[in-house]
Subunit: 275 residues, 6 copies
């Protein structure tokens, strides 16, 4: 069950409101790298978690933190929209440094939300929940989470660069820090489960007889004119899962048939010439 | 530039067509765990790759392989649809073991594609390209790829369990094998880049002064009644990135203000009582 | 800032797991009538609230409650999926009363989430955040909320009818009750603002000179052969906003021009014949 | 069955074409507050209407009017696009007051539609029909309609403010007026059905024994540090539905269990450590 | 401006309601082959039509007809849902021939619409307006329309096969007929414009100097092992646009460079190793 | 099976990078008129092709070519993004001719992809695979393909006009040329199948007794005040399919009933007043 405090997790200050930056900042709320995504992803992973209770708890606790991130980022967007022009006249007289505000802002920040944050990304596209990755497999989920926090920290770093506002830089430096922790926290779960070798290949519960092992350890060079890129994945050393040896194959012939579906059946809606 | 052979990468055989399994199999084509996703993800990552050429090449080569997976899975779906009922009468007389086909199949396999694969998932939802994760940061991208292959192998394993068809099991065992390789191949890139420690936190190019380091190494227990879950992420040991020490905080007070946007401006479309 | 308890807001019990009902129940999580919608809608309305603080608080408090509803419904879905068949053999031997499970369940409950809830509706379609209605106008928002809770209670009532499971009926009777309160709570805000008459027309801050009042109080009968439906909206009585008198017009002539865009410009990509 | 006149419902005049305003205006066509939404919503509600015929007729008549609104707004967008630059050179020489047109206009107004309206919103996002709310419950539908017209009038008022063009202001003042009528017309249906008290809680056909009435009349304060907001919803007075008394509860303990799904089943695709 | 009659364009009769067929029938309303699509496509094409008025009129007239098709199909869906089970008990006792109704019907026909049509396809996916193709080029639009009516008639034919209901077959035979006319009507516009040769290549207004004519008339065989398919497109005869001669090229070498983006810039959020 | 060369199909050169043009160019990658669409459409059509093998081969060969187009367009976008501002300071000092870059570029080109192409259109909307039209009917598919290539060439022509960059103009002139060929190649398949008359109406396999021929050859004038537009479709001449004669009907009366669904059933979630 959830509870709430009236205060924000972190202080939000905007020294110089900027409606165009408000549009950019939306990516951290409703983008695939943003906070709605991680809040909901961790929550659904927690709700479906089977196995050790501590992992479920960890997921739900961080889900709860991410909800608080949505909240203060939402406040940051609204503060950046203070003073956005509400009329053609206001726009014409707007600060020329900020520039072509009418063209550059998200129109819906004026038209739809009345100068407030929306659950959308920097293009105004609403977040959609297909991005909540929760597989029921804890190793796959932890990789999904590490990835989400990595792209989240990449985003926060880019946003940090895109603003001159000291208040915004301060808030973003907090987000960058929390993403640092969250990246490592999810990878630490993999450590607790024995590390990459023990977890690989995901899922590690697939019986070996379900796998055509002849195809499990070669890199396939599908290029007609480029050499196989060299690296540990082709050097003949042991694979990461400890079960095989990395090799490479290039310019291989197809192993399958020429596909042929024959002619169409009557009543299938094809043209007569296909039947 | 791309080229094609008329043969499939792997032999596809369906011993006993099953339109309901065809619906399930679509997840491996048009699901977020499926082949369109990885083909396009690796291709867009390759197109945006900066840095060492061998990583770009690796991405494009595997993108090309995944295109071939779409192709043979598409053939597998079509073969499973052979014999699907095209009329109410055919449905009524269908094999009772397969069961309520009209209700259980994807209606659009009959109505829209004429007994062929579609770029949709097992719910009939078309794949959408927002799932192509390509950040321009190679570590974030490799985590995204390892995740995609992990969920892909989870899916292939589940599909393997859901069919009795020997041909389908054979094809899926090939996919399970290739996903094994691909998981490890992407994680091997992280090895080449110095390993997790060197890559963390992603992006490792963010200047430290952009990060509020006071918040980078504690796990935040946001629960009111559950203890902090124990693990390497709270045990006071070194963080994975080698820069800090894992700690935990619980029942922390908010650090921010009570948010207050004041009253609405004239002309903002709010109610008068808000102004 | 958000906090969490390890316990659910309400006890969840499933006496007889039913994967097909799990599919139906998803509508209450990820449907437009569901809990993700109201949780996020109230949260975004709260974050953008201008005017009296008590309305903002009210919104955030109920947003927080709705997050708890997502949580226990997610548990209910997972419990209904206990025992769902993981293989073709299990499906063949499934309880014949439940019926054609393989065809009738959401395939992704097996393939994608591993027997857990997803942020999707009963068709497996992920919730998308375009349904978060938050206008910055408190009267419009309250109507949106009353509507959401009305459709939510309609849904919960229908789900109640669709199950025989005593545990599920108990949980749904709790949801039906909370939706009762929430409907009235949002309409009570309109009372506090002076009632419907004072709030209408929304927004009541639009200057009268922005409105072509000649068109504000007639019902337009656009039918060629049906009489104007009788009711208070056509009976010559006072309009709800107290500013006008309800009338009706039928078979009116268009007041506008025949639209004509002329010929296409050179360089516009039209056919030469259009230029 | 539908018919059409060659003339527009209302005269459309654009004194000074403005491609950036054309982008904004799209919200009134393809936004969730726009005309496609209400036209289709009323049409689908009408097609599913059960009960008194006059409500069905009313819905279909206004659906028909909204189709006419799409039509003249579409013409307004096209007229605003007259003179939009079709080449880099034209853009460079464009009226500097209008500003950075290439960056500020919707690129697809040039690239995709050839200077004509599209069924998209101000961000260029196509309208999707998930926003057609039609529940089969007339009270829920009327609230949905009143909400749609409220947000529609908020939008039209904001658009009115965002333009200096006399022709556009005239057209928008007509829309503002029609939205005034439509808001009240839908709420009048609730009056005809006995008013809010008789309609509440929606659906009023749910048997009382399906509702856990102990939870129907308290406001839940989920905040840890904010007092319960005062208002009619907490003041001990009668609830709007006449069945109960408004109260409040705060800092309540959860009533449910600590959720526990146990360990994962074999064959479920989880990691071995979860089983 | 639009008007309406209270009667349907065509009589709708359902002799034996079938909720599973109701699900299938939705494809003709909200599918990409369905009536919402053509109604809106023709309407938006008409609103953007430049050039001869008769084509605009034709488009709007048929748009109006398609609105009437939505209407009677919506009634057909509702009639098929009469008698759909509203409770677990009703479902258990349902006609065994129809089969596993709870699993096979669209759950939202019960849960969301209350036994009425929805603007969704046979998978329950709402129609989205990105499928409204209106380019501003009349030849491209006519091809889009001919395609829409072709896929529409394919769909109607398949639906005809999928039902035994005499009333439904009668209604579908009307749709099949109207699609026959509409296909030919749109292609007739191309005849009026001089036929395929005069219209090709679309747009025929592109100046020849904007086209690299060396690449305009060869079929590119990108296969490594399949011969060039023979046909008029490779036989050395005149191309359809009368400007060139069909030829073929196979196993061509790429003409472009090996792409190379160099190293990432500082501040771009890449890993240090990429810079 | 697919293969790849390290070189691009066509040389890509950008003389003067332009981040705003990069946004426009995205329409050719991820727009409905773009290359992802045709690549995937032809690939799925090929995978479902029944009938003569040469058509399947043709489809797959051109699908393969379109993949190569995605690739070089992706490179073109990345080259246009070279030099896009990564910070507020860089933006402030940007080339004033290019103009308000921060407002006019796609923010995600900086925030999400790190200066690289994305699978999105010019509004930043990800391509969704519902636009892959593959019906199993070869005539419908060829019309869909001719339409796709027509809108593609319209788009390429418009993009050509919107840039001054010689490198970009050269690349676009290549695309314009290939679209010329592809348009004619797909229509040539219809020639091979006997031409329009033999193919019409699509599908030509629908038995005549499934069609209500009384409604197959009249144009329906649904306008109340516009004359029937004159043309071959109304002139009494032979229809294109050779089976009928074109006529017209105007101001027709509806042939159907007044729809009536009666009262709502108990348990359906309607209001009591509807029952």
């Amino acid at each position: 069950m959830f509870y709430h405090s009236g205060k924000l997790q972190y202080e939000v200050r905007v020294d110089r409101p900027d409606p165009v930056f408000a549009k950019y900042l939306q990516q951290a709320i409703g983008g695939v790298e943003g906070e709605i995504r991680v809040a909901m992803q961790y929550m659904f992973q927690a709700m479906g978690a089977r196995g050790e209770k501590r992992f479920r708890d960890m997921l739900m606790m961080t889900a709860t933190e991410e909800l608080s991130h949505i909240e203060f980022l939402g406040h940051a967007v609204a503060l950046n929209l203070e003073g956005a022009p509400l009329s053609a006249q206001e726009a014409a007289s707007a600060d020329p440094v900020v520039g072509a505000i009418l063209g550059g802002q998200n129109p819906r920040h004026v038209l739809s939300s009345g100068l407030a944050a929306m659950p959308v990304n920097a293009n105004g596209i609403p977040f959609d929940m297909s991005h909540i990755y929760a597989t029921g497999n804890i190793a796959a989920d932890m990789l999904a989470n590490a990835m989400a926090e990595s792209s989240g920290r990449v985003l926060a770093s880019r946003l940090y660069n895109m603003t001159d506002d000291a208040g915004m830089k301060d808030m973003l430096s907090f987000l960058i820090a929390r993403d640092t922790m969250h990246q490592q926290q999810w990878l630490a779960v993999i450590e607790e489960l024995g590390g990459i070798e023990a977890c690989m290949p995901v899922p590690n519960s697939t019986p070996e007889e379900h796998e055509n092992l002849a195809h499990s350890y070669y890199f396939l060079n599908t290029s007609l004119d480029e050499p196989t890129p060299e690296g540990v994945w082709t050097n003949g050393g042991p694979a990461m899962d400890g079960r095989g040896t990395y090799t490479a194959r290039d310019r291989v012939e197809p192993e399958g048939q020429v596909p042929d579906l024959g002619r169409a059946r009557e009543g299938s809606g094809a043209q007569t010439e296909q039947m």
